[in-house]
Subunit: 365 residues, 4 copies
Amino acid sequence: MSHNTFGHLFRVTTWGESHGPALGCVVDGCPPGLRFKLEDIQAWLDKRKPGQSRFVTQRREDDLVKILSGVMLDEDGETMISTGTPISMLIENTDQRSKDYGEIARRYRPGHADYTYDVKYGIRDYRGGGRSSARETAARVAAGGIARLVVPGVTVRGALVQIGKHKINRAKWDWAQVDQNPFFSPDPQIVPVWEDYLDGIRKAGSSVGAVVEVVAEGVPAGLGAPIYGKLDQDIASLLMSINAVKGVEIGNGFAAAEMTGEENADEMRMGNDGNRIFLSNHAGGILGGISTGEPVIARFAIKPTSSILTERRSIDADGHNVDIRTKGRHDPCVGIRAVPIGEAMVACAIADHYLRDRGQTGRLK
Amino acid sequence: MSHNTFGHLFRVTTWGESHGPALGCVVDGCPPGLRFKLEDIQAWLDKRKPGQSRFVTQRREDDLVKILSGVMLDEDGETMISTGTPISMLIENTDQRSKDYGEIARRYRPGHADYTYDVKYGIRDYRGGGRSSARETAARVAAGGIARLVVPGVTVRGALVQIGKHKINRAKWDWAQVDQNPFFSPDPQIVPVWEDYLDGIRKAGSSVGAVVEVVAEGVPAGLGAPIYGKLDQDIASLLMSINAVKGVEIGNGFAAAEMTGEENADEMRMGNDGNRIFLSNHAGGILGGISTGEPVIARFAIKPTSSILTERRSIDADGHNVDIRTKGRHDPCVGIRAVPIGEAMVACAIADHYLRDRGQTGRLK
Amino acid sequence: MSHNTFGHLFRVTTWGESHGPALGCVVDGCPPGLRFKLEDIQAWLDKRKPGQSRFVTQRREDDLVKILSGVMLDEDGETMISTGTPISMLIENTDQRSKDYGEIARRYRPGHADYTYDVKYGIRDYRGGGRSSARETAARVAAGGIARLVVPGVTVRGALVQIGKHKINRAKWDWAQVDQNPFFSPDPQIVPVWEDYLDGIRKAGSSVGAVVEVVAEGVPAGLGAPIYGKLDQDIASLLMSINAVKGVEIGNGFAAAEMTGEENADEMRMGNDGNRIFLSNHAGGILGGISTGEPVIARFAIKPTSSILTERRSIDADGHNVDIRTKGRHDPCVGIRAVPIGEAMVACAIADHYLRDRGQTGRLK
Amino acid sequence: MSHNTFGHLFRVTTWGESHGPALGCVVDGCPPGLRFKLEDIQAWLDKRKPGQSRFVTQRREDDLVKILSGVMLDEDGETMISTGTPISMLIENTDQRSKDYGEIARRYRPGHADYTYDVKYGIRDYRGGGRSSARETAARVAAGGIARLVVPGVTVRGALVQIGKHKINRAKWDWAQVDQNPFFSPDPQIVPVWEDYLDGIRKAGSSVGAVVEVVAEGVPAGLGAPIYGKLDQDIASLLMSINAVKGVEIGNGFAAAEMTGEENADEMRMGNDGNRIFLSNHAGGILGGISTGEPVIARFAIKPTSSILTERRSIDADGHNVDIRTKGRHDPCVGIRAVPIGEAMVACAIADHYLRDRGQTGRLK
């Protein structure tokens, strides 16, 4: 299927299945001379890893990342320095319980990729969803950890802004809150509401969708390229590539459809310091596919995970009608853990466009 | 900027500015042996071309497409047969009125790409928006005309489903209506509402956003590839690459965020004829990035065009504050003409994935 | 067939057949702000165009290039300034004599691509070789004209170094001679030898092969990327993509197989001016895929054109044995006109790697 | 540097340095349903691995390959079945002797990539050549093992045809001999000559170049695509990407430059069985970039390894003149071990073009 790579100059290839021995990625195009410690990358994986609250899957994975190539150790024996060669990262799978999945080997779980993989390939690694498992996203987060180092001064942060019908109060947005609750919510007041709501969902063996917002600050103006290399296009592409994502917005997004030209366009003025100032950021930091220097803002909708305990009608590979309940350990709201994944995707897109603009080595200029 | 190409096996490269002598595209990867007439391609351009109602720009362009390569004429002297070599198509610009645009040569229209192009390139073809003009989309529509021929049995249709806050009644959806009104509305009852509303917008020199829905029927199951070659990912990427698009949805889209797993997943049953049947299509015809055989459904939001008659605050290239009104001939709702463009993008994505799956020549199998 | 594009950041797409209305290319990724006149590009096409001596095809084509996009005119009305958007160039075919080619519509000329195109596509534009005609190379030369502008200080020059068994005397190499004879020979003493030899070939209706050498001076050290983005790899790829090329060498090339490590490696010393000096250039300016700063040297072998007047055994599309003589206007030594084509390919490869290293816009650094 | 991937549908990404913990590759685009055992892949690595005779480096590496993803085990617990997802393969480095390399950390070995890596990246993994080490080719050979499974009926074999000035007698070519001597020579009579010659080279601490020929039989007619996706172009590109390769030929190669059209073109006749027959194969199985069905023949020249015991003039990273001898364990003729690497590259190119033509899944046709 040959499409497990993304990026044009900052290129990431991921590999691995849910229940294989390991998964990982190769990050190609990382500039030389970046300095970091293994724990800098591990921190992002820790944010994504399962089992951290009762609201996410209880699968236990340490998700410890190993770096196999592309770096040299500095004299402290700890700081890694990128050499410009591909960085191969590997994460072992340790908590596969294949017995949980045996009965769905030939049954198609509604809303899962079981049926389409079988139609396409005629063979499917049914264990834990195989390649279509959310575990693949661990490799994305590791790659995102490298991407964050590429563009000086960029900060990429995400937050959960909606679970089911319950949206945050945007007036209460406080980035400092995001790490203080199990939902990555920037609004502390919604937390108990979500807790109650999700406890109900979880106990019912059900699931629910969510919306994540990612904001990248410090993106230099001028990244992105018309016409088919737009920065927002590449962000949309990568966010849509995340499992279960069904919608992507930039800036005002679908709300822009309801607005007039007067309301939606961002006026400008010269600042006292000689800087160009945008008086608003409806565009989400991108005009004509190119960054304006304002924060880049993207949102994406995650559908409810299709693994639920309610019996559902389906068929099997032999063409029989079956009724199916998806047992096992699942996320009642897979959108929660999508926050660091969305951050990683946005960070990778920005790093790629930064290198397209400025080149890869920086030595020759 | 080197990113004026999209597609992996069905590859389209577009070129041209609003006020240059011509614009066009090269369609590479078209299989050999496709038979069509020039008018088959022209028909889609006619659907997109400006000046067809008072609700779109009054620029007059015939948008006659010429095919310069990649085909041989059949004995009837009219039917073209693709040879498998690149199809170069050219559309002349005939109604450039450069005088309309002179004063914005150094001023940045809010919401336009003027500022970002200047920041990035240090030079900008200000005439009619240059490369960022909606005229570039004529080349997309021509390419889409070829793409529609690639997959046997596929029908790709679009409709306008929302202007401003005014949405169609989906229960009234009738494809036969779409060509009977200047809005590509599938719901005839909304047409007078939109007419009144847009007349007001137009007379006020204002503009408004819209939402377009594209439906592809007859897409064979199995197109698309995990993980970064998902069919929905590529559709999202191409739709987001259209000027002024700020959001993309597949199937239930953002509404999925509000749904439970029971509501959102599509159950299956075996049909009497031995076919596999999906009992609903919340997924929009794609699971795990691969087509299910159900209609592929995508929606996208177009922001209001930023060219409005109201004076707006901005700056110029010299760092002065200016107030700017965008005169000239513009679309009060650019979303209307986005319908055939969206269709073209979806058709191209499907053609590309079809060829990835089945190969390009069909002779050797 | 979707592979009519080359380059990663400096990307060229060519299109067109021998006997269609026109051929051309789209050069994508050209940095903004390059200044040139149409005649700067035309000059390279003039060097390649047919009919300039009795030793090349007598087809008459002016090969006048038009630039349709990607530039703005400076105030002098003549100097073009690249804007960073795709540069579309078009060359009309004016001297197609289709009657010359009628009888080979269904016959496979030995050594030509007739048979393989038919096997692959089931349809073939037989007129003048269609897409496989050497006319396609006019578009390459136009693209090369742009590429030469990208890297400041680079000079790319080619010369013919062998016709049949007759090689130049390398000790006599004088670049100033290259434009003084119809063979692009750097050695004036070989010219009468080649004239006599080629007159014989031409009168016999035969053809003969040749070897071209291209030298790029002023290539900055550090261009190219291990492992699959080596500069020499990309040069080899592009030279091998030229019609009739059967071999490519870098630096010592095949002669290196006969040498020892002592003979072949290039020693270094510090110069008096603090520069690093290579004491020889066996490597042809590239080590480990990366330029050393020494001249980049590439050679390629062109087979004799297969269009000869001697009757040859072949078959036709219906599976009959036939005897075939290729009438029409052909090059007795197609290698002569390959000189500017080889230059163009090397220039494009260097431009592409330069942009990968240094980025595309140069505004943000 | 982002260019550690090759292939368009059959895509291989390699990673790893000579003295890191491991190296490996990700093979993306492998069709589903291929059946093989680990030993099928290991066999090719065994052919390439060091230390198998006194004529190659004495570094000891078992080069045991592990497959981490992309396959399921059949019921026999041994046969692997590809699933269509990326196949990640890993080979541990076990015999790194970093002490051997300490003194060249800041010195540039003539003919090596030391200088160019330092110029480009400003940092270089000097241990064993880092990324530019021949160890990277182990990953290529593993990928080639998968590639060989993709095209039914294809056999790709290589042989050494020249060491220094000593060429095989082509009339004596016997494939059965290739595995009977330490040189992969198809001509047994040259073996003692090469032994004597190389013993002298080895004892002198010198090195010498070589030429390898690769022949692929059973390649279906019709693979490859004009103009920039020629099969010979992609083979040339991949062969030139191998360390130390300085020249590539297809079919007659450079000898074609000395031939006439009568001598070089391959005539055709219909066979008694209705097959099309080429009466010769000067073209090396490729016309116009597309395979003819005849054996594909490629040759490449490998320069003498630059690691020699003779003292050579060079400089160091601080700009001082130094004299340098490269101690350590090296190949007196690195061309010997290039045989399986060349095979792997040709196999990968053919697999890629096969999939472009026929599609990737085979389920939907």
